[in-house]
Symmetry: C2
Subunit: 262 residues, 2 copies
DNA sequence: GACTGTGAAATTCTTCACAGCA
DNA sequence: TGCTGTGAAGAATTTCACAGTC
């Protein structure tokens, strides 16, 4: 994912496997739900069911964090919430900026889960001058010109990119230059970043395509190969490709005005 | 993921690894961009760079599809676009319904990548009677009452859930009962589905938490353990947990009832 | 007796390195 | 010569199964 070097020093220091890290938020969510219901302890079996994984995997995952359970009893919910939160770095406050306030950016700004789990929306940034000053989710949108100042003034290290694909790399470069070292990318583009910067991407179109693959397979099993569940279309390859590429250029929000050549 | 049996009978030929399937959309996107620029052929090295993977992996991935390249030359762009599209089931038309037309649902409806890559938004569905009839992305929102009829009339097999977490399982059950067999879930909940139904989830909060984990580690490497990049907060564990759980219940869009101030 | 923690086996995924073909 | 296709090695992840502890 990163660049050049011998991959990343990555999951080395504490030795928590990446796959485990990716599941910790899942466990945390299930645990907070239990905590809310004042459930004092859970077994690996119960918690695993709530998190949608199997219990052996969960126990193995927790074993990387330490021995936080009690044999014959289970895990103390509150204690485990704390330990996982700490491990994930959620006991501190992470200021986040969202760049590109189209439909998606607005949805993200309004997303309750942001504000409450250690993340604070420090600023909303858009390239459209007409957006400047408008309140979205109670926060006034600021112009892209302010990007570097906002990052530095707020000590922002996490940036969310919800711009059209065409603007994403440029925005990314500016974020990184200003000091951001983690990026969540919603634009359908591969971002190039220097070593030491983490990028995670969320791509709606990709997820749907993966579903389509499995869906097609199901259909094929029932009715034989090459049979679709609905009106088969078979568009001209070139035309479809062009349309898809054009759509990508519009960005996650379609043609909604967002950040553009600043 | 699905059946209790020995998983898939692995119908001889088609043994494409899941990891490979997940990358095909990435290759497809890079290829469509090349196709648009009328580039006739690419080497594995070039295409891999464009897709953000390494070339050995790409060649291995393609080897599961067949031998579509030419030694000493590379891959024919158009041909590969077609082959991957076919493999992913994108040469047919997939009607999709989006349930939950809040900020996020509206963003999804407006997402250009949906419409152009084999997916067609067949309907937008919301539980709020006030939303019924309102046009979002050019499509009139329909009430949840119509869900089953819509699914059946349109032969929908893929559903997108963008409702609050509390409604997600119920919506999921109805979708599945009506015939949907693939679900893309944006609600921060684990969905339970019968065998044969695929669920993929997209969770903004989880992605951010994973970034925070790595971010924390970076900070720790520089300045020693337990040092934050910003104002450390250390909230009461129980309070934080309750707040987080409460936020989840509000759903991906927070508590905003409907479409943004368009 | 119940349930965790964990070596070891099994499986999946990635990378290497080179044979083989245009 | 240049680049694909792929066995084989290596790494990561998942699962098994059971010893250990409360």
């Amino acid at each position: 994912m990163a660049t050049g070097r011998t991959h990343r020093p990555a999951t080395r220091s504490r030795g928590i496997p990446e796959a485990t890290v990716a599941r910790l938020p899942l466990y945390l969510r299930a645990l907070t739900a239990l905590s809310e219901r004042s459930v004092p302890t859970v077994s690996s079996e119960e918690l695993a069911a709530a998190a949608g994984v199997n219990s052996a995997k969960l126990r193995k995952d927790f074993s990387y964090l330490g021995s936080y359970g009690t044999r014959g009893v289970g895990y103390d919910v509150e204690y485990l919430v704390y330990q996982i939160s700490r491990e994930l770095g959620l006991t501190q406050d992470w200021p986040v900026v969202i760049v590109g306030i189209g439909n998606l950016g607005a949805a993200l700004a309004n997303y309750g889960g942001f504000a409450s789990r250690g993340f604070r929306v420090a600023a909303l940034i858009d390239a459209d001058p007409a957006m400047a000053g408008k309140p979205v989710a109670g926060i006034a949108v600021q112009h892209t010109d302010q990007l570097e100042a906002i990052i530095r003034d707020n000590g922002v290290s996490i940036g969310v990119i919800a711009t059209p694909a065409g603007a994403a790399q440029q925005v990314c470069d500016r974020l990184v230059a200003a000091g951001v070292t983690s990026i969540l990318n919603f634009a359908p583009t591969v971002l190039t970043v220097p070593d030491g910067v983490d990028v995670r991407k969320v791509d709606l179109s990709i997820e749907l395509q993966i579903l389509a693959f499995h869906e097609q397979r199901k259909a094929g099993e029932e009715t034989g190969p090459e049979t679709g569940p609905s009106a088969p279309v078979a568009p001209t390859t070139a035309a479809a490709a062009a349309a898809a590429a054009a759509a990508d250029r519009k960005g996650p929000d379609g043609d909604v005005p967002a950040v553009m050549p600043a």
